[in-house]
Subunit: 326 residues, 2 copies
């Protein structure tokens, strides 16, 4: 019998088509939402591989029943919602880094340009009849963009930025870049890059090392009129310190797609712990950068091919280091 | 004695520096705001060349006194504010097309991405605590962008769009493009390009031929979810027809930088004749695309070198065809 791959999220018709297409020759696919209650325990105990969205749907109960689980694959680029403390250390977890890199990079570029040209702010004022012309719009061409967490997203974004005439400085763990950029360094170059950059893009995973790492000690290095974009995870920035920085630096702008507090139900109204929504120098988007129907197929393919690698006995890509999380 | 060049706008210190730098060897520079009232008639009667912003400051009184005027140069890319009906036909008028093309093109790109990613709309909702995630964000890569009025701005924008993976279709009077794009045609290709484009950018001058040309007959050709960007002149679009189109096509978005009604005084509150500011599917900016401190020097240089050409007896560039306006 073929090994069971459990899909934990609600998959639509297109999702199912591509899942079957890629996996049906090597696996039996089971959708969590369709398992009969009476058969739940038996089916779960046979599951070898899980395909999850972000890992948030992996409850204690479900995990405890998957006694033969070997491999968890996320659709999400990050693994920060995987409940590592509930998982045996022998279970391999792979994230889907790179799967949505192009969409996130384009979204980051859109946030950068929106901030440089002050488009949401001008639009907000125009709707009150006020023509905000005194605030200049600046050119991206010639600006220095520092990308902190220079990985798949950083590479895609750097290509776009270079073609538009910007300079790109990167910081990552390896200190290496697969493409030519203007500066690449390890963590010991962080302060240098932060102080030099006109625009800073954070595209870091949320791990125990990055949580809250962007705090007052970093904010005080930034240019007075910096543009700070976050498309990684909200909690890498200290919420209070960002609020205070924006409050006391009216010429700086933050463009934030990832947050500290999320709605639990669809269309629930939610605010953060600090009133960012009252600030004039912030652009707020609802964690949407990685979600585009134009790349959904690509994201699925990337995750599914990794499952296939595992089932064929090859080494999967993007294996997560458990020690970064627990 | 050197010929007199009259600067009609309020020039700041940097402006004066570059004006003197380029023209002082071939001209005597006079600033309108600094002429003594008693000498006004004498000075104006000697003016050979005028450097104006858009031409709006050329009143009937001033023009009637410049009996030796030969050449008018605008800083503005368009000549639609030049009072041609007050000018003798022998006076040469040159616009400054191309001078701010790079800034306008970058701004147009920012409007395109803001609309594709729905950034101002999502920001507006986030400020009310509403996470607008159901509306997708689309990729620019792969989209068809039609540029109507494919000139200096179009070329700069096309380079950016091509490097980001979009397809570019152009329409202009010559039917030619200096760079390789995916389609270029004359006016007889307009309907084809309008019906094919996912995104349409209008970068047309306002002449008697283009005024109101984008009306219901064009709107009915567009894709249901088109993005329509205008960085040329407001009045090339029929105001009522745009309003009705947006009202009845909620999936379409307009991103509009140029308008029909403008504030007469600085910070005057002003709205258009139709309540665009109440629509959810419009992005409104206050005619700012061409105004960036980063290119002010370039804009001045381009205009001043053209004046120098004229004064040296060479043929100036960008000579305006009077028949397009009167």
């Amino acid at each position: 019998m073929k090994p069971i791959v459990l899909v934990t999220f609600r998959a639509n018709e297109n999702d199912r088509k591509i899942i079957e297409e890629i996996l049906s020759d090597v696996a039996q696919i089971v959708y969590l939402k369709e398992i009969d209650k009476g058969e739940m325990d038996t089916v779960l105990s046979d599951v070898k591989v899980v395909l999850t969205g972000s890992g948030r749907d992996l409850t204690k109960e479900i995990i405890s029943k998957m006694k033969n689980l070997e491999f968890i694959q996320t659709l999400s680029a990050g693994a920060d919602n995987i409940p590592f403390q509930l998982l045996g250390e022998e279970i391999i977890v792979a994230n889907n880094a790179g799967g949505n890199a192009k969409a996130v990079a384009e979204f980051a570029l859109a946030l950068i340009l929106s901030a440089l040209k002050q488009i949401p702010r001008r639009d907000r004022y125009m709707r009150k009849g006020i023509w905000l012309r005194r605030i200049p719009h600046e050119l991206l061409s010639g600006k220095i963009v520092g990308i902190i967490g220079f990985g798949h997203i950083g590479v895609e974004l750097a290509k776009m930025l270079k073609s538009l005439g910007a300079k790109v400085y990167g910081v990552n763990r390896s200190g290496r870049s697969p493409i030519k950029i203007d500066f690449i360094g390890k963590l010991d170059s962080l302060n240098y890059v932060l102080s030099k950059s006109d625009i800073i893009v954070l595209s870091l995973p949320l791990t125990k090392h990055t949580r809250n790492f962007f705090d007052e000690s970093k904010f005080k290095l930034l240019k007075r009129n910096v543009i700070l974009v976050n498309v990684g995870r909200g909690s890498v920035i200290n919420q209070r310190d960002l609020y205070n920085f924006l409050k006391s630096n009216p010429d700086a702008i933050a463009a934030i797609d990832v947050w500290w507090r999320y709605p639990e139900r669809y269309e629930e109204q939610i605010f953060q712990d600090y009133p960012f929504h009252e600030l004039d120098n912030i652009i707020m988007t609802p964690h949407i950068a990685g979600f585009s129907p134009d790349i959904r197929e690509e994201v699925f393919k990337s995750a599914l091919l990794n499952i296939k690698r595992f089932l064929r006995g090859e080494k999967p890509r993007n294996i997560v280091n458990r020690d970064d999380y627990v």
